[in-house]
Every structure is written in C-alpha cells, then in structure tokens.
C-alpha cells in the first residue's frame, strides 16, 4: 500500500493551520480512506491529516432544542448514547445498520457526511431532520443546511481547507422520524435504497406538517424528494395517501443500474417502502 505522509495534530487550531497551508486529505476513522488507499482507488492523496486526536470533535450533547454530535462521533457511540436513544431513536436505528461492529467502532458521522457517497446511510436521516452541518477552517465556522451540503456525485459544499466539526439536529415537538434501509443482508451491506421520513403531527387524526423525505442510493447524491413531500403536506396517512405517494416518489427519483441493484428495483422498492411507512403510521 502507498503510504503518504500523515500528520496527527493535537488541537483543532493546529489542524486548521495545516489545512490552510497545503492540500491534506482528512482522515477520521479511516474506514473509507484506508479502503481507497489500499485498493488503489483513485489518485492517492499527497498528504493526510489525522483528525482522530481532536477531542474537540467528540461527544454527543443536548443543547437547548438540538442534539449536537461532534464530527468524530462513532456509530458505536451513537448506539450507546442514552440521550440519542431517547430523543432521536431513528438515528440510533440508522447507526445500527452501518457495517458491523468493527466498522461501527471506528467509522464516524463526520466521515460519512464528508465522504458524500449517495449510499451514505446517515445522510437521508440528516436530510429528514433538517440537520445543520458546521464546517470549520482558519476563517472560523459556518453552518450549512444538510439540504444544500451534497452538491453532486461525491461533491460537497466544503471548501478545500474546511472540515466538518459538528452536526446540529434540531429537536421538534411532535415530530416522528422513520428510517428504513434495504440491503442484501443485515450487516456489511451497502444500501440498495435508504429512506428517512419525518413529519410533525400532535395526534394520529391530525394532518401531517413539515414532511421531509430523505433518500439515498436513488440519485447521484442523497436527496430530498420535495415533490412527494409537497404532496404529503397537510394529508392524513390513509391508504389513498400511501398509494399516491408511492407512485409519486417512484416517478420523482432517478436511480441507476449498478452492481448492487437496478433502477427498476430501486423505484419499486422506494415506492413500496414509503407506502409501508405511511401504512404503519396510519395503523391500518
């Protein structure tokens, strides 16, 4: 394996200074970076910046009406977090579907976000919960809404010298969040389709508001199905709603054929999973 030089700064400000001086590829848990390096996928980076020692990027905390995750938060930490299990169980569910224990102990939320794979499993949940991604550099910090973070195939809104420092997920009263991942097996599977749906409604008989539908593996980047969201807005989870929504979402997405699945399968499954999520919510 090619072994590019690597530096491991101890403080965030030292990391920012290095990033401002030269082009470094950040490395957090390394579960994507090492696969690419040892598999010779793409041109190897000239230099690596190891973020693992930056304790400033760790921890899960409740801050008023939001949950804050340091970029280095691992899936294992999300699964263990009592506050996350209490306040955002769908996020814990999503973390539990990533890889297997070995990957969950090292892979980080910041790495999943910056890696910007259309199949990144946490990304639809971030879209469905109006998450804000906080990027940092020598110039300071800025907040980027998840909805504008992934700009194209493996492209993000990060500048070359910026890193993800934390993620802020607003907690909304009466919001429901649902997550489903369709893969080949339960562990170690890259998604064929991944869906996160959220809505606000105080009681089962109340129409849905603030509907968000985040989807992965159905386009060149993680997306929100905004036309389907608009259809669901103000509706009740009836069988008519479910039928029409499943047809709409299948028409709205632009999946591709690849080694993991076909476009037809992805359309059919996305529609069907959305149908089931609405049926479960409507309890019919």
């Amino acid at each position: 394996m090619i072994e590019p030089p690597l530096v491991s700064p101890d403080t965030l400000s030292a990391a920012y200074r290095l990033l401002a001086e030269a082009a470094y590829r950040p490395i957090s848990g390394g579960t994507d970076v090492l696969v690419a390096l040892s598999g010779g996928l793409g041109a190897p980076p000239e230099r690596l910046l190891d973020l693992w020692r930056l304790d400033e990027l760790r921890g899960i905390a409740l801050d008023g009406d939001a949950l804050i995750f340091g970029a280095l938060t691992t899936y294992a930490e999300i699964r263990r977090s009592a506050v996350c299990r209490d306040l955002l169980p769908a996020f814990v569910e999503a973390a539990a579907t990533i890889g297997a224990a070995q990957i969950q102990n090292r892979g980080t939320l910041g790495g999943n976000i910056a890696n910007a794979s259309p199949a990144g499993d946490m990304l639809p949940v971030l879209l469905a919960t109006d998450a804000v991604i906080v990027a940092g550099s020598v110039r300071g910090e800025r907040s980027i809404p998840a909805a504008s973070f992934w700009t194209g195939y493996r492209q993000t809104a990060l500048a070359g010298d910026e890193i993800v420092v934390r993620i802020r997920i607003p907690l909304v009263a009466d919001r429901q969040v649902r997550f489903r991942k369709i893969g080949t097996r339960r562990a170690q599977a890259i998604s064929k389709v991944v869906i996160a749906l959220s809505w606000v409604s105080a009681a089962p008989a109340e129409p849905w508001r603030s509907v968000r539908l985040g989807l992965g593996s159905v386009a060149e980047r993680p997306i929100r199905a905004t036309a389907t969201e608009a259809f669901l807005e103000g509706r009740l989870p009836t069988s008519d709603t479910a039928n029409t929504a499943s047809v709409r979402v299948a028409a709205e997405i632009e999946p591709i054929n690849d080694v993991r699945s076909t476009a037809d399968y992805r359309r059919a499954v996305t529609g069907r999973v959305l149908y089931r999520l609405i049926r479960e919510a409507g309890d019919w």
Binding site: L34, V35, N105, R106
Partner: protein
C-alpha cells in the same frame, strides 16, 4: 512517526509511517502473524483485533491512531504462548479457544483469529449469549467453511462456562 502502544500488554515503540495499517505493523514489523489478512478492505473481519477492548479491522486502522492505546491479538489469548516446548494443547489455550476446538468451530482456520477476537469482545461485554446477540457480534466476520453454527456454539459454550466456572 514515532508511536508507542502495547500489544498483549507488552510495550512497543516503533518509528513507522503514520498511515501504515495496524495489520502490517503487527505482521511485518512485529512478526505477529496470527492476525490474518483476507480482503484488506473491512469486509471479512479476518484481521480483527481488539483496540482498547473494542473490535476493529486492523486493515483499516492507521498506526498513528494506535499511539498510546492497547492492542490485543490472537497471540494474547492463550495463557502461555505456544512454542516448541509448550505446544498448543487444550491446556495451553484459553476458555474460548478450547470451546472452538471442542465444537469444531475452526476448519481451515483463516477466519479463526478474527472470530476469536470478536468472540472475546462478546464475552467481555457480558451480554446474554443468545443466538441473535452472538450473530450480531460476529456479523463482521466471514467464514467460508463452518457455516457459522459451530462458531456460534463455541461462543455460547464459552459464555456458559464463564458463568459457571469449574
């Protein structure tokens, strides 16, 4: 980059490129070839070791991130490291290794070091040894020989013996 850590409680100090894989450091720099390389990309778990007690794929961990931490490999399981004078007899193995022998949990053996480490982490977690819990604990470890049943039996047997020693 100079790194210091422990392997099976022995201190190690090395000067190696910080990106070098823990797997290569173990096998090449330290001569600990018990840990195996299967896929080299995090899929198979053959390279599983414990880092501060948690399972990791050593093919995905850069050595810079091991600095100051504790590694446990399959060589650290047996109470006495087998050599010419102390062969790997059942007496010379730990509880989980003996259980693998008894149930037939190892065939060709390429997955076994990783399976043992995943099994050790499971035993240490103190979870009840139900079938789904054991399956989840070894979900990141592939075996092409045993069909998994004997491995699951081995881990369950070790868990039961751990509960009721003697």
């Amino acid at each position: 980059m100079s790194v210091q850590f422990t392997v099976n409680e022995e201190p190690v100090e090395l000067d190696v490129p910080g990106i070098r894989r823990l797997l290569d450091v173990l096998r090449e720099d330290l001569g600990l070839t018990g840990t195996k390389e299967g896929c080299g990309e995090g899929e198979c778990g053959a390279c599983t070791v414990l880092l501060d007690g948690a399972v990791v794929d050593s093919c995905l961990v850069p050595i810079a991130q091991v600095d100051g931490h504790a590694v446990r490999t399959v060589e650290g399981l047996a109470p006495r490291r087998p050599d010419a004078r102390n062969p790997a007899t059942p007496d010379n193995l730990n509880l989980l290794q003996r259980a693998f022998l008894e149930t037939g949990g190892a065939q060709c053996g390429i997955c076994t070091p990783g399976m043992l480490m995943a099994g050790e982490a499971f035993l240490a977690s103190g979870q009840a040894p139900t079938d789904p819990a054991i399956r989840e604990a070894i979900a990141g470890n592939l075996c092409r020989c045993t069909g998994y049943t004997k491995i699951i039996e081995a881990i369950a047997l070790a868990a039961a013996r751990r509960e009721a020693p003697g």
